[in-house]
């Protein structure tokens, strides 16, 4: 036997079935990119925006843009790791300057209900209905600092109306001087869809119920897919292929409803949630994290989760005698802030926004997940506003299209102090040709450094893209409101 023959025999002993599983390859690739994203985020956090507070700070973009974040969000059914339904690896494509056209028509709310808050009326409905209605809406914290303006609230109930203590707010910048150095910065637009071909045409073509044949609808495409777990405390999974997002909610028919047999107000009152039933924030975050882990929803591409508990602002301030009458929400939401290339995303009210996981307080179970969106973006540079005075003037009005201070005569005025800004992105919408575009605009985030009465804003947001600011009408000086009813 020659050496070569012997080597050939040894070679034959290698296990020939060592075939690499392509699902494993894909899964691991996702895990690695998540890890890379996490490492990139850590690295970036350490060097977050080089503010140089000598006399002025320098707002250096290069430190931010250098790290290419490749995050991912994917949904896989439990015990079926290979089934990737939402392979939304974060992808940012750089395109020409000003490629999104004019930014003069940006709005703070989507015209299509994708994100943003609910209207004031829905916010005060009972929790189950409110959550069901807010399918695609992040539990919003939109609204003015005081309860004088409607349109607050969202997936979680809010009872600010119980205690109305009007206060005037005077925003004052107390931070250090700064400059804005970059001449232009990227604006991001989220791309709709999942970025993968989902061909469900055959489902439509073969759907034939008696005389009604959907296959006759030429060129029809399947935009939505809803699947429901037919079991107690089961979930409904809704995938919007057109928008590129996923919503997981309760299958209402199979979840207990303690109010179902209530015939009078006393029954409702008797069964209301009490403060002692609320999970702690850590408990809520643990529940949310565990659910995401169990369902294979990657959270690495998001910022640190937090519990949205703005409702507590008024609750904590209300006297003990009023606390029992206070409506405590049946759902708590844990927010996982979206990050784009390492930047955390805020709503125009200064709250970090992103994927949310709602916890049913009564059962301590996850009841819904929303804003689970594909993460494909285009980036286009726009000129920045270099006039710091203009930025500060807007900050001292409460931020972009947010709070217009109403100087009500004869009531208390409180000072809201704003500290040194950090960079972030604000999520805005643009409606073009009946389509709602989701845009993310570079902004300065001014933290509120004191704790004024009744205010649940944590930050004031001012976009620093010149075109966006130019389009905002100058509200002028505060309007003075006379006490008493109008005649």
């Amino acid at each position: 036997m020659t050496d070569a023959e012997l080597e050939a025999l040894v070679a034959k002993l290698s296990p020939k079935e060592a075939r690499l599983d392509q699902n494993f390859k894909q899964d691991l690739n996702y895990r690695l990119h998540s890890e890379i994203s996490r490492l990139g985020g850590e690295k970036q956090n350490k060097s977050t925006i080089n503010f140089n507070f000598m006399n002025k700070f320098k707002y250096v973009l290069s430190a931010i843009g250098a790290v290419a974040i490749v995050a991912l969000i994917f949904v896989a059914l439990p015990k079926n790791k290979g089934t990737v339904l939402l392979p939304g690896k974060q992808q940012v494509t750089k395109i020409n300057d000003k490629a999104f056209g004019s930014l003069a028509t940006l709005t703070v709310a989507s015209g299509k209900g994708s994100g943003g808050g609910m209207d004031g009326a829905n916010a005060f409905t009972t929790a189950p209905q409110a959550t069901a209605n807010s399918k695609m809406a992040a539990p919003s914290t939109m609204g003015a600092p005081s309860s004088t303006v409607g349109g607050m609230g969202g997936g979680t109930a809010n009872s600010d109306m119980l205690i109305y203590r009007p206060v005037n707010y005077n925003f004052v910048y107390k931070g250090k001087d700064f400059t804005i150095d970059p001449d232009k910065m990227p604006v991001y637009e989220r791309q709709k869809g999942f970025g993968v071909a989902v061909n469900l045409d055959t489902v439509l073509k073969n759907f034939n119920v008696g005389s009604f044949n959907i296959g006759k609808f030429n060129s029809a495409r399947l935009d939505n897919l809803t699947a429901t777990q037919d079991q107690d405390k089961g979930y409904t999974l809704n995938m919007d292929f057109r928008e590129g997002n996923v919503y997981i909610g309760q299958n209402w028919e199979r979840w207990p409803n303690i109010y179902a047999s209530c015939a009078d107000q006393a029954c409702y009152e008797q069964n209301r949630i009490t403060e002692s039933q609320l999970p702690s924030n850590d408990e809520a975050i643990n529940l949310a994290n565990q659910f995401l882990t169990d369902y294979g929803i990657d959270k690495n591409g998001f910022g640190a989760p937090f519990v949205q508990d703005n409702w507590k602002v008024n609750y904590m301030m209300s006297p003990m005698s009023m606390k029992s009458a206070y409506y405590i929400p049946e759902m708590l939401s844990v927010i996982y802030p979206t990050k784009i290339e390492g930047h955390e995303i805020y709503d125009q009210s200064g709250n970090k926004t992103g994927m949310y996981v709602s916890i049913d307080v009564r059962s301590k179970r996850v009841s819904s997940i929303g804003e689970l969106n594909s993460q494909r973006y285009q980036a286009s540079d726009y000129a920045t506003e270099k006039d710091v005075k203009r930025i500060l003037a807007l900050a001292e009005k409460g931020g972009y299209q947010n709070y217009y201070p109403m100087m009500e005569i004869g009531i208390k005025t409180e000072e809201v102090q704003l500290g040194d800004p950090v960079s972030g992105y604000v999520r805005l919408w643009q409606n073009v040709n009946n389509q709602s575009k989701e845009l993310f605009v570079p902004s300065l985030i001014f933290p509120i450094t004191n704790a004024p009465t009744n205010i649940y804003m944590k930050n004031v947001v001012v976009p620093i893209v010149k075109e966006v600011l130019d389009a905002q009408n100058d509200p002028g000086p505060p309007i003075r409101i006379m006490k008493g009813r109008a005649k």
Binding site: M1, L9, A11, P15, L28, I36, G40, V70
Partner: protein, 180 residues
């Protein structure tokens, strides 16, 4: 791959992971195969391979290109992971027993069911650890002596000698066997 590999690695170390997928695509099958050959268990091989690449991503900044090629660095992580795994399965197990984890039935499913092959397999288990490791790296993983020497942290000459002795010992064992 080798031509621009060091450049891509340097980019990754600097925080630009844009081209990482090409490294991943190139090495994943090799590392998986390397691990699978030594564990002969799909799930275990996948778990270990995942550990290897996660470690590589996490510790890439500690990789020094001047000391060893990236491939050697990666294989070394894989080899250590296989050893750690075999220890965790059974505290007294070493790489030799990890190599022998699969019974003859598993092996024979994939190879010709001949007595000769079975004999080679038995005799391979009698080789020294180094000889067996060099032999399998050379024949199964098709690694060069230079790569083997860097992975095992021995000289290239030692690798060649180990290979030569492995073959010689096997031949001798086979001849003794055939004369029976």
């Amino acid at each position: 791959m080798e031509s621009n590999e060091s450049e891509i690695i340097a980019q990754c170390v600097a925080g630009n992971w844009q081209n990482f997928d090409s490294i991943y695509d190139h090495y994943l099958p090799k590392i998986y195969q390397f691990v699978y050959y030594r564990t002969r268990h799909k799930q275990t091989a996948e778990d270990i391979t995942a550990q290897v690449f996660l470690k590589a991503v996490q510790h890439l900044s500690s990789y020094k290109s001047g000391e060893a090629p990236f491939s050697a660095w990666l294989y070394r992580i894989a080899r250590n992971a296989v050893i750690d795994n075999s220890r965790s399965i059974k505290p007294t197990q070493d790489l030799e027993t990890a190599y022998n984890l699969a019974g003859p039935d598993n092996v024979m499913r994939a190879v010709d069911a001949t007595v000769t092959l079975e004999t080679v397999k038995i005799k391979m288990a009698d080789l020294s650890d180094l000889q067996r490791e060099v032999l399998t790296m050379r024949v199964w993983d098709e690694l060069s002596h230079q790569e083997i020497s860097e992975i095992l942290e021995i000289s290239e000459g030692s690798s060649k000698v180990a290979m030569s002795r492995a073959i010689a010992n096997l031949k001798q064992s086979m001849e003794i066997y055939e004369k029976r």
